[in-house]
């Protein structure tokens, strides 16, 4: 019977095998079952982007994703893209340039921007704005977020 078998996928680079009901939402699985609270719950409706994770490298709203859909796929969360010590160049740029204020949207932006820079290392401003259009921020007016992504992209050059 589907759902009785454990869910198998790659989580932050490691194989994972967890019990998972058919209706379990990926965000709940990550936050509640696995304790990965870096991924934030902002709306549960796919409107704010705070819960963005990468599924096979693509930004995905974990609040709208059935956990069973990631069977056999690879899921990266903010915990997975953060180095064991220090910060990634993108994270460093967010800190140095003040791209995080209250910080609640920040993990989602970092995930979206990580994916953007992975497939497109030197995006222009319009491409950055388009990429982050699914992530809401109420503190920064986006200005410093765009600047941080630009800075990280120059760093990666």
């Amino acid at each position: 019977m589907p759902g009785r078998d454990p869910l198998r996928f790659r989580l932050n680079g490691h194989p994972a095998e967890v019990p998972c009901e058919p209706a379990r939402i990926l965000l709940d699985l990550l936050r509640e079952d696995l304790g990965l609270t870096g991924t934030k719950r902002g709306c549960d409706l796919g409107t704010c982007g705070c819960c963005t994770v990468l599924v096979d490298g693509r930004p995905t709203l974990s609040c709208l994703t059935l956990a069973r859909l990631v069977e056999g796929l690879s899921v990266d969360t903010i915990e997975g893209v953060s180095p064991p010590q220090g910060l990634s160049p993108l994270q460093r740029a967010f800190v140095d340039l003040g791209a995080t204020q209250c910080g609640f949207c920040t993990p989602g932006f970092v995930m979206t921007a990580t994916a953007l820079l992975a497939r497109h290392p030197h995006p222009d401003r319009t491409e950055i704005e388009r990429a982050i259009a699914g992530n809401l921020c109420r503190c920064t007016g986006y200005t410093k977020i765009v600047e941080a992504i630009e800075a990280a992209s120059r760093e990666g050059a």
Partner: protein, 773 residues
């Protein structure tokens, strides 16, 4: 940005937020990230009726449902509360009546969300529907069933303010020019990204611990004590990271008290986490408002009088409403001289989600109407809008007619900077049809001079420092960082005074067991008040370290000067000791060193009724120019650039000041361009971020920030507020720019594309003649 020049080592420069590394890695801990052993889920049953008498609520089936640990209705904790001591009209759960769709009528704590929802579905309420009052105009006279018994003379009026200074009728009788703007403003809401969340745990030692996403831990602490009947010292309030507030988390909120009550009833930790709909129904956003502003001037354009009325839609509770009602009048008293002033403001209860304090509370809607009226006056008298404003600027070290004390103001410098940087003189009334520039100005309090609670008398902010032999400086204060960077500023001020590296300073999480009281994040008070308290505490600690250094260096303490991580003898660079050596010497007799600093406002303002409203130890000033481009086919428009000249005194952390201005402009643009709490009757039709749209990255204009302030005499290191005032000027700058672009006056917000098209249709012929197009 201007080059970062500052006489200070840290302050005045760009200081990245100290908790930034935790936030960018998902390691910062918000309330919903906390888990307690055996924790239950609390859920709320909300009223589907806008106004109803609760005849009985039967919770027997819910209570008997397996997995349910506690069920509550209003009767158990009926003590009224509210953020203002004079208007306690809320209860944790509705008692006797439900007053809006969304009012809490029952609550359960259960093993999980599904069980809690199932139990709520078993609650049976027997109700008698009562009249719905969605229009504040209806509620200003006696009504059959007032929403609250305390409504003025059987009406739904929660607060009426009438003020009159000078001779307004005389001024209008002799006016050379007059203008009148009747503004209509939709309600807007904060739309912070973190939904409200609270965890409460009652322990067998008789204590209650509450973790909550709050901007004002102290008022929550007081309200918990009042409603639950527990002394404050048995309650511990902890503020984890807060994912934005903007005023929406500044009231003590019913669910916070309900969560604590459920924890007491069940004996287990309980978490209440809001979904987005809960957040929208809780609201406390900016009030839907209608105002009527008349301005008179003499022949030269000197303002001679304001005559203002405001009708403010309060929703179901008072919240900050008494303050709102005053602010919609008295925050008109700057940035211009107003020799005669009359105001009648009424805030009316309606059967809608409560409105409350939202960034630039009380100063935003009135400012829009005034600035649009000034734009009309400038046109009528053929003066440049900048010249008209400059001639009326409040001078420094002056008093307004309602006895506000004005100390520092760089408003004239704001005007000059915005005019020059924007190229105004080449653009205003000179751009092709569909493009235009507009000027809007701003004025806001830098902290409320009167704390909300007057008893017992105590400082508005207190900061404690502790340093032990490890050399780390622990800082305690109940100031509430909600993302604006107040923790960083607190650390930077301490480090600046002590000459210490920033990483020595550890700002502790707000915890009422150990944090001395600061009144929290509202009224743009934190930099000014906490900053002064932090400076005082650090100066006291410095005294100990200086004595330690002087003993080692064998000189008088007066000869010691603070260097970077060193203390030295003035004029003798070869004679100095490192920070730690001075510290260890200073500790020999006492062990760990502690210090405390406090800030208390001094009495200012008049003595008439309501005189305290709007008094502040300092005020911020702003002059913004917006440039817009309108698509006259679709009515869509783009704000292409904003030149934001702002006087926050000395900016202490440029990164934070810029961030506050950019974020304020984003929020101001949301209100002027499209955000609306969309009601049909009392029903909210857009309680989600899908339907309530905040501006996207593509809608943000380029923002050029011009920080022109001079040191404020009482602000810490010369600083004033930059958290709320920067929002205000955004709205009228855009409204006036649209007039310049297409010749249409917009007095109803938001200015949506369909309103632009309607305006263009109505004014098509005139607009063509006017632009000579």
């Amino acid at each position: 940005m201007a080059a970062e020049s500052s006489p200070y080592r840290l302050l005045g420069r760009s200081i990245p937020y100290i908790e930034g590394p935790l936030k960018v890695t998902g390691r910062a801990e918000y309330t919903d990230d906390i888990r307690r052993p055996g924790m239950l889920v609390g859920r709320l049953l909300r009223s589907p009726w806008p106004h109803a008498r609760l005849k009985s609520i039967d919770v027997r089936a819910a209570r008997a449902h397996p997995g349910v640990f506690a069920v509550l209705t209003g009767e158990k904790y009926p003590t009224p509360f509210g953020v203002l001591p004079i208007t306690h009209d809320e209860t944790a759960i509705a008692v006797g009546k439900a007053r809006y769709i969304g009012d809490i009528i029952a609550a359960v704590a259960a093993v999980d969300e599904r069980t809690a929802e199932a139990a709520l579905a078993l609650v049976r309420a027997d109700v008698e529907p009562l009249p719905e009052y969605s229009d504040p105009r209806v509620g200003v006279t006696k009504v059959p069933e007032p929403i609250h018994a305390r409504g003025l003379q059987g009406s739904n009026i929660q607060k009426e303010v009438i003020q009159h200074f000078g001779d307004v009728d005389g001024a209008f009788a002799h006016a050379a020019y007059t203008a009148r703007v009747r503004g209509v403003f939709a309600g807007v809401t904060h739309a912070f990204t973190e939904p409200m969340a609270t965890i409460a745990e009652a322990t067998p030692d008789g204590r209650l611990t509450v973790w909550s996403a709050t901007q004002v831990p102290h008022y929550l602490h007081r309200s918990l004590s009042e409603v639950l009947g527990l002394p404050m010292h048995r309650i511990r309030v902890i503020k984890p990271e807060v994912g934005g507030g903007f005023g929406g988390k500044s009231d003590p909120l019913p669910h916070e008290i309900v969560c604590a009550a459920l924890a007491i009833e069940s004996g287990r930790p309980v978490k209440i986490l809001f979904d987005r709909e809960d957040v929208f129904y809780t609201n406390h956003g900016r009030h839907p408002t209608q105002n009527d502003v008349r301005i008179a001037t003499d022949a030269d354009g000197n303002i001679t009088a304001y005559d203002i009325e405001a009708l403010i839609d309060g929703g179901a509770w008072s919240s900050f409403g008494t303050v709102t009602t005053y602010y919609n009048g008295v925050l008109a008293m700057g940035p211009y001289r107003v020799p005669n002033f009359r105001y009648k403001g009424r805030r009316v209860y309606t059967t809608k989600p409560p409105s409350g304090a939202m960034r630039a509370h009380g100063g935003t809607n009135i400012r829009y109407s005034i600035e649009v009226a000034l734009d009309e006056l400038a046109e009528a008298m053929r003066q440049d809008p900048f010249d008209l404003r400059a001639r009326n600027a409040l001078p420094p070290n002056s008093r307004t007619i309602n006895e506000f004390r004005i100390t520092s103001t760089s408003f004239l410098k704001c005007l000059a900077a915005a005019r020059a940087a924007s190229g105004w003189d080449q653009k205003f009334r000179r751009m092709p049809f569909g493009r235009g520039v507009g000027l809007g100005c701003g004025f806001y309090i830098s902290g409320s001079n009167s704390p909300i609670h007057f008893t017992p008398k105590m400082p508005q902010s207190t900061v404690h420092l502790k340093v032990d032999m490890d050399g780390g400086i622990a800082v305690h204060s109940m100031q509430a960082d909600i993302g604006q960077g107040s923790n960083t500023l607190l650390a930077a001020i301490v480090a600046e005074v002590l000459g210490a590296d920033l990483e020595r300073v550890h700002v502790q999480r707000v915890d009422s067991d150990v944090s001395p009281i600061d009144l929290g994040s509202y009224s743009s008070r934190v930099t000014f008040m906490m900053g002064n308290a932090a400076r005082a505490a650090a100066e006291e600690l410095k005294g100990h370290l200086v004595r330690g250094a002087s003993e080692i260096l064998e000189c008088a303490p007066e000869e010691i000067e603070v260097g970077h991580e060193r203390f030295g003898v003035r004029g003798r660079p070869e004679r100095s000791v490192p920070f730690l050596e001075a510290l260890h010497r200073a500790m020999e007799r006492t062990g760990a060193l502690t210090a405390s600093g406090a800030y208390q406002t001094r009495p200012i303002g008049g003595t008439f009724k309501g005189a305290r409203a709007g008094t502040a130890p300092a005020y911020s000033f702003a002059a913004y120019v917006a440039e817009v481009r309108v698509d006259v086919e679709t009515g869509e428009y783009r704000v292409e650039k904003i030149w934001a000249a702002f006087d926050c005194g000395r900016p202490l952390n440029r990164l934070a000041v810029e961030g506050q201005i950019q974020g304020s402009i984003h929020m101001g643009l949301g209100q002027v361009m499209g955000e609306t709490m969309s009601y049909r009757g009392s029903r909210l039709f857009n309680p989600s971020l899908l339907e309530y749209k905040i501006p996207m990255p593509q809608q943000m204009p380029e923002v050029e920030i011009l920080l022109v302030g001079e040191d404020d005499p009482e602000g810490p290191f010369g600083a004033k507020e930059a958290g709320e005032g920067p929002l205000i000027a955004t709205l009228p700058a855009v409204g006036n720019a649209l007039y310049d672009a297409i010749g249409v006056r917009f007095t109803e917000l938001p200015i949506t594309p369909d309103r632009v098209l309607r305006g263009l249709d109505l004014r098509a012929k005139e607009a063509r003649a006017w632009k000579g197009a």
